[in-house]
Symmetry: C2
Subunit: 160 residues, 2 copies
């Protein structure tokens, strides 16, 4: 399967990754969450090629994950701002951060700490159930097929 065909799959994880699943996009989004707005700021932070950065930014704009705002004309220059759709990726970044902190932080501990303004403490993200509000572990969870995902049945009767 080619990568771009993923978006046609009946799986929401696949469809999400068709947009943000390449090697750089989630890092670009990390920079936007940290407050970066301009092309060269992002480029300096990540050290990726201009070609790729320009291409990813325009894909993310086309998908509605961010929008460009001109901050000058002549020459026309843009800032990049996350939309609501982009901001909804916050938990994905936060849990990648936590995973990296947990398994790859060096001796110095996590390089970035998150502070929760509402309660005044440094925190780590937790996954909770929208219905009962309690923390959820994968062992307390069952996926159930909805419409139109024939592959699920094959996976749910697994090779055990």
């Amino acid at each position: 399967m080619k990568w771009h065909e993923l978006s046609e799959q009946h799986c929401s994880v696949a469809r999400s990754l068709a947009v943000v699943g390449d090697r750089w996009t989630l890092l670009i989004l990390r920079d936007l969450f940290l407050g970066a707005r301009r092309f060269e700021t992002i480029r300096d932070s990540l050290g990726l090629s201009r070609t790729i950065l320009a291409e990813r930014l325009s894909l993310l704009e086309a998908e509605g994950v961010l929008r460009r705002k001109p901050y000058q004309e002549k020459p026309l220059r843009h800032e990049y701002h996350l939309t609501g759709k982009g901001i909804d990726l916050y938990p994905v970044i936060m849990f990648l951060l936590r995973w990296g902190d947990r398994y790859y932080a060096g001796d110095q501990g996590p390089p970035v700490v998150q502070h929760h303004l509402a309660c005044g403490h440094d925190f780590t993200p937790e996954l909770h159930c929208s219905e009962c509000g309690e923390p959820v572990s994968p062992f307390e969870t069952r996926p159930r097929a909805g419409e139109g995902f024939p592959q699920l049945a094959a996976l749910l009767s697994p090779d055990d």
Copy 2:
């Protein structure tokens, strides 16, 4: 910057993505969370090349995200099981799922629904604060530099 140099960056998101940030790995993990155990099961589900699947599985094993268990000898054949480290990626997958459901589900609604056995309801994942237990939005949060992430300062005095 080359991709493999990412693991040397002082950013936990970058270090996580150095392991799971290529185009296929999170989809392989999705299959493992759904119960897939065997090489051809995963391959049939994703349609990726054997070369890449073999390479990714051995990288994930080397990183301790999964382990191989032989289920027969002659010829030697393995099943792939998530370790605790792998299971800790569950929230990442769940929030990618929710994002795809929210923005890319077709007319039929989400292809897979998650059921929380503990409370008996279908649910969506929510990000909560480890300290106060309340839901967290990105607007109530500030990143603070820990040790050894010089780039953060540049990003936190942004281009606004």
